[in-house]
C-alpha cells in the first residue's frame, strides 16, 4: 500500500468500502459466529444496541424539549417585556390593536382576522392580545417600524 499519507485516506476508504460490502453480504449466522469467536454474546450485544437506540431517541427528544422550553421562555420574556410599554387606557389599547390589525391584515392569522368585535374586548383581553401580538413581532417599535 502507499506509504504516502496523502493517499492514505482514499486507500483506507476503499478498504473499508470493501469490508462494509462484505459485511452487508454476510449471513446473520456468520455474523453471530464471528461475534462469538470474538468473545461477544450476541444476545447481550443486541441488548446493548437496543439500549443505544433508546439513548439516541431520548437525547433527541430531550433536545427538542429543551429547545421548546427555551422558545417558550423567550416568548414569555417578550410578552412580559412589552407589558410596560402598553398604553394605560383601554381606548388607546384598542386604537393600537386596530392599527396593528389594519397594518397587518394580510398576514394576520385567521383568529385575528375573524375578530369583528374588537370594541367589546375587555381591558385585560386587549392587554393580553397586544402582548401576544408583540411576542409574534407585530408590535410597533419606538422607531415606528412595527409589524
Amino acid at each position: 500500500m502507499s506509504k504516502s499519507a496523502d493517499n492514505a485516506a482514499k486507500e483506507l476508504d476503499a478498504v473499508l468500502d470493501a469490508l462494509q460490502k462484505s459485511l452487508l453480504e454476510a449471513s446473520e449466522e456468520d455474523v453471530v459466529k464471528e461475534l462469538r469467536a470474538a468473545g461477544v454474546d450476541p444476545l447481550k450485544a443486541m441488548e446493548v444496541m437496543t439500549f443505544a437506540e433508546g439513548n439516541a431517541i431520548d437525547e433527541h427528544f430531550c433536545r427538542i424539549r429543551e429547545r421548546l422550553a427555551q422558545q417558550r421562555a423567550d416568548t414569555m420574556r417578550k410578552i412580559k417585556g412589552v407589558a410596560g410599554q402598553l398604553p394605560l387606557s383601554k381606548s388607546e389599547k384598542l386604537d393600537l390593536l386596530k392599527s396593528i390589525y389594519a397594518k397587518n391584515a394580510q398576514t394576520m392569522t385567521t383568529q385575528f382576522r375573524d375578530l369583528t368585535s374588537l370594541d367589546n374586548l375587555g381591558d385585560a383581553e386587549l392587554s393580553s392580545m397586544l402582548q401576544q401580538l408583540a411576542a409574534l413581532g407585530y408590535f410597533p417599535h419606538a422607531d415606528g417600524n412595527g409589524g
Binding site: M1, S2, K3, A5, D6, A8, A9, K10, E11, L12, D13, A14, V15, L16, A18, L19, Q20, S22, L23, L24, A26, E28, V31, V32, E34, L35, A37, A38, V40, P42, A45, M46, V48, M49, T50, F51, A52, E53, N55, A56, I57, E59, H60, R63
Partner: protein, 197 residues
C-alpha cells in the same frame, strides 16, 4: 425530528419503521462499529461500537445526516454515518488522544448540520481532509496491513483493494478464482472483527 422539505429524505415515520425493522442487522452494525474503532486505534480509545451507532441514529433523527431510501438501505446509511463519525475523530481531537471525550454523545459536534458528515453517495470526492485525518488513515492502513501479513493471499487482495480495484479486477490481476478473492476479503473482515475488542 425536524421536518425536511427534501422529498427524497426519509420521513420520521420511515426512520422509526426502519429502526424497528433492524432486528439482527444490529449485530452487523455492532461488528462494523468494532471494525471502525479498531481501525482508528488510539483515536477511538474509550469508545464502544454502540456509541457510534447511537451517534449515527441521533444524527439521522436530527437530520444532520440525511437518509435517502432511494440511494441506500437504512443499514448502509447507518454504516456510512458510523464510518464518517469514526473517520473524523482524529480531525476533531487532534493527535492527542487525551482530548477525546469519553461519552459517545460527545463524538461529534451537536450544533447545526455537520457538513463533514456527508453521505458517501452524495459526496464521493470530498477533499476536506486534515493532516490528522490523513495521518490516522495511514496508521490505520498500517494496522490492517500488519494484521494480514501472515496471509499472503489476503494481503495481496488488501493491497489491490486499497488501489480501488474491484473484485473482478483483483481476480484478473492475481489470477485467482473469484471466490478466493471474495473469501480473502471475508478473512480480512473476520480477522479485524476477531482482533477488535
Amino acid at each position: 425530528m425536524s421536518e425536511d422539505k427534501d422529498p427524497d429524505c426519509a420521513s420520521e415515520a420511515e426512520v422509526r419503521s426502519a429502526i424497528a425493522a433492524l432486528g439482527a442487522q444490529k449485530l452487523k452494525l455492532l461488528t462494523w462499529g468494532k471494525t471502525l474503532l479498531w481501525t482508528y486505534g488510539a483515536f477511538a480509545e474509550g469508545r464502544e461500537p454502540e456509541d457510534l451507532y447511537q451517534e449515527a441514529l441521533k444524527r439521522t433523527w436530527e437530520r444532520k445526516r440525511k437518509w435517502k431510501p432511494k440511494n441506500c438501505s437504512f443499514v448502509e446509511h447507518l454504516m456510512g454515518a458510523m464510518k464518517s463519525i469514526a473517520s473524523h475523530l482524529p480531525e476533531k481531537y487532534g493527535e492527542d488522544v487525551r482530548n477525546v471525550p469519553l461519552r459517545g454523545s460527545d463524538l461529534a459536534d451537536s450544533s447545526g448540520e455537520d457538513e463533514n458528515l456527508v453521505d458517501p453517495i452524495e459526496n464521493v470526492a470530498s477533499n476536506t481532509l486534515t493532516p490528522e485525518e490523513e495521518l490516522a488513515a495511514k496508521q490505520a492502513l498500517d494496522r490492517i496491513e500488519k494484521l494480514m501479513e501472515d496471509d499472503e493471499e489476503a494481503f495481496s487482495v488488501l493491497v489491490l483493494l486499497a488501489q480501488r480495484k474491484t473484485e473482478p479486477e483483483i481476480t484478473e490481476d492475481l489470477n485467482l478464482p473469484r471466490k478466493s478473492v471474495h473469501a480473502a476479503i471475508e478473512r480480512i473482515r473476520y480477522k479485524i472483527s476477531k482482533t477488535a475488542k
